[in-house]
Symmetry: C2
Subunit: 308 residues, 2 copies
Amino acid sequence: MSLSPSHKEQIQAVRAAIETRLAHLLPIDSAAPPRLRDCLTHTLLAPGKRFRPLLTCLIASDLGARQNGVIDVACAGEMVHTASLILDDLPCMDDAPLRRNRASAHVAFDESTAILSAVELLSRAFGVIARADDIAPQTRTVLSSMLARTVGANGLIAGQLADLSNTDSEASVEDIERLNQLKTGALFDFAVLAAGQMAGSDKQTTDALADFSHQLGLAFQLLDDVKDVMMSEADAEKTTGRDVGKATLVALTGNAASLERLRGYLADAKSALSRAGLGDGAVIAAMDVQFSFANRAAETMGHNNGNG
Amino acid sequence: MSLSPSHKEQIQAVRAAIETRLAHLLPIDSAAPPRLRDCLTHTLLAPGKRFRPLLTCLIASDLGARQNGVIDVACAGEMVHTASLILDDLPCMDDAPLRRNRASAHVAFDESTAILSAVELLSRAFGVIARADDIAPQTRTVLSSMLARTVGANGLIAGQLADLSNTDSEASVEDIERLNQLKTGALFDFAVLAAGQMAGSDKQTTDALADFSHQLGLAFQLLDDVKDVMMSEADAEKTTGRDVGKATLVALTGNAASLERLRGYLADAKSALSRAGLGDGAVIAAMDVQFSFANRAAETMGHNNGNG
């Protein structure tokens, strides 16, 4: 799977723009408490792949959205994502000391600073959308409502609560996919559908984008679960082995079947992307980069099986 | 200080409408996790005076705002207020077991449910504003941006962080007033200025409203600090005595001087309210109800002093 030079350059340029913009959107020069600023920098500006905001920017661009505010809306999604990671890692949640190859926020600082930083990222995300002033006000209110639903009682929060009590050994594939949709899919839906909203997509395109983000979210969560089992912490750049005892697709069906399922999700995602008219753009290239581990792992397994 | 029958009825009617609307705005009938719904009900729907949303509704009404969405924006402020209380009470913050005469959220449920409920209330508040669809979209984006600043690194969060490290015995009256403005004033600013925004107030009125909310926020925080010292937990309906060792105006200047200062704030607030053209409406009546403790305490003190 080769990356065309132009797509590679586009992805690199958009990633760099996202990094710059994220730093700009933090209250770095304000009267904000230094400890809060340090924790926001530690968490939001930790090196990351920026896959979600990259999706928003690439899809919006490919669909013809030209507002300067697109990148801010993309960054708002990344802020909420980072807030959710800070909260997930807390002692009362997953109690994970490592994130993005750094000490988790509550370890590097303390619990209260971590919680308040998450709240700041969350509310700032809504503020950033509200102030993206070359996007039509009506569109901004739709985006804000979408983001609230993404976070809310039928999104990330429901997913986190369900995950905390996830020790159900009777869970089916469908049960686990439903949990994964809440935990991970909700933010992918925002990243993808916000792009469609800003581009003024028609219903057919919006439906295809919704299919795409649904499959992509499932693929992403499954990749995360596979990494939890198959990768060292150094490679994963976060605490691994945390899923032991949880009902995941990997635990239920094994590594090989999980990788096969993952390839199915990705194929369905690409097919939906084609229906949205984006079948040969940089989005596909960005997916291939993001999911390269899954392809490598599948090849290694096939190789091992062949020799074993 | 007597309450006119018509103002009393108006205040009761608005309070009742706020209670009904708050309950309606929770995800009670949705697929939200039952534990989350229970915690949201426990916290947001605990009997409270609803002073902030009452202010929003009364001021908006007196200024001529007629949108149905006014009450939703008022409720959004109350959601953020409740979220801040849940977080303030956490073990890693003030570690307070009692709130609004009930067990605090993390005691009645657990820490993770408490934190996620606060996050849900916060993001739902932004969603409620975004969907208040008889308010002009441009106004909704302004309100959303105002709310983000209220929560943010120069508002509630900065106040909470400063309060957590508040053991500065050298703090001056000005230092403490600055902290009180962040901790308490920010949400009063939102409650009051949102009303002006929805009514389309001119600059002169907006400036007077800003003065009003500033003085009122200082008065409210000082009342809270006085209650912490002078009231039993049963009367305060929350954990008291938590301010011991903190730099408060009560600790710095004593009870009698604090009550005198409080009366000064209230007088300045009422004067600003008059400049906003609201000097004889239900807002004044609502203030008198809210601050009746201060008046009673001042009378008792004067009485004791006279006999002592």
